[in-house]
């Protein structure tokens, strides 16, 4: 039985320790939730991440709500959400009050530069391992690359890539299963 405080502590630790933004947090949560604790399966993780990416707002905030809800319902979602958000809030307020000059030191910038390069490797690894099971057909690989290209055009909201490519893939899937497409669409 996973307790509410276990959920809160797990997400809080990941939130407090992970440099490199939301996607880096997703990589670390993947390690914590799947490999280390076995709380969530590979499939559910991908599914929840897909939903979290589809919605607006911080991806890892959405993800904490979905995965927390899966673990322990509404209290689980609340614990995961607070665990993911509070470390950011606390550390930013503390920095704003006390530590601002620290960040202008060259050594801090050097630390960050090395850490960012490491995070780039971490993100590439996560994207690689996570995307493998999500994509099973050649047409899906093409769709993913097209979505990435559209999303990388400056000043274009990534939601266009999401809607456009999802609709195309949905059309293709419906065509490939004509019986399902005809009978079950509302």
């Amino acid at each position: 039985m996973i307790t509410i405080s276990q959920i809160f502590i797990t997400y809080f630790r990941v939130g407090a320790l992970t440099l490199g933004g939301g996607l880096a947090m997703i990589s670390v949560l993947r390690h914590e939730l799947i490999a280390k604790r076995g709380w969530i399966g590979e499939d559910d993780f991908s599914h929840e991440l897909a939903m979290a990416t589809t919605l607006p707002g911080a991806m890892v905030v959405n993800f904490s709500l979905f995965s927390g809800y899966r673990l322990r319902g509404v209290p689980g979602a609340a614990a995961a959400f607070l665990g993911a958000v509070l470390p950011s809030f606390i550390s930013i307020v503390l920095i704003a009050i006390f530590l601002f000059p620290f960040f202008t030191r060259p050594l801090a910038a050097a630390f960050l530069r090395g850490a960012s390069a490491t995070v780039a490797g971490l993100l590439a690894h996560t994207a690689f391992t996570m995307c493998k099971p999500m994509i099973t057909r050649a047409s899906h690989i093409t769709a993913a690359i097209i979505a990435a290209l559209i999303a990388m055009i400056p000043n274009v909201n990534p939601i266009f890539a999401l809607i456009l490519v999802s609709a195309a893939v949905y059309r293709m899937s419906a065509n490939q299963n004509p019986a399902r497409g005809r009978n079950d669409k509302p």
């Binding site: 939903m51 905030v61 709500l65 704003a96 090395g114 960012s116 690894h125 690359i145 979505a147 949905y170």
Partner: protein, 176 residues
């Protein structure tokens, strides 16, 4: 009055920021710098640097920092609340919709259909991040070493440990 405006602005930012932290920053630039003039462009680049140097999601960091800058602790709380409230509303709406309609087969097809696009968005985010953070040969080596270390089968190295090592390596490479 400032707090109410701050709340409304961050509700708009939270509801409109699709596709991760960098689109949040674009939204903040529009709402906070262009529309309200609460912070200047120079302060915005400070904000981005601090949001990246602090653990946690960049969007939440940016919201808290802007709120604190505009109206102190209360502002930080209001901005963070406003930024995350749309997430809470949207996520629970989606959970309810899916649990009500989960028996319909087209929902399953829809869930599967979103996946390639999601992979694409993640890929785009990784490439954008990589382009900004991999600036020289040392960075390439650090990134490649991290990828390799994580790929060792049967050996689960904690990613946070690697980030820390990367930072220490960064001090030796760039610090002196």
């Amino acid at each position: 009055m400032t707090l109410l405006n701050l709340l409304i602005s961050f509700l708009i930012i939270g509801a409109g920021a699709f596709g991760g932290g960098y689109s949040t920053i674009t939204m903040i630039e529009h709402e906070i710098v262009t529309v309200h003039g609460w912070i200047t462009s120079a302060e915005l680049s400070d904000l981005i640097a601090i949001a990246q140097m602090t653990p946690g999601p960049i969007g939440v960091n940016a919201a808290t920092y802007t709120g604190y800058h505009v109206a102190g602790f209360g502002g930080a709380a209001v901005a963070t609340f406003g930024f995350t409230l749309p997430s809470i509303i949207f996520c629970f709406t989606l959970i309810r919709l899916f649990s009500r309609f989960s028996s319909l087969p087209w929902i399953a097809v829809l869930k599967k259909s979103v996946q390639p696009a999601v992979v694409g968005l993640i890929l785009a985010a990784v490439l954008t991040y990589g382009r900004a953070s991999i600036t020289d040969l040392y960075a390439v080596i650090l990134a490649a070493a991290t990828f390799t270390a994580l790929s060792i089968p049967n050996k689960k190295i904690h990613p946070v440990l690697l980030i820390l090592c990367g930072g220490i390596a960064g001090i030796f490479i760039y610090g002196f």
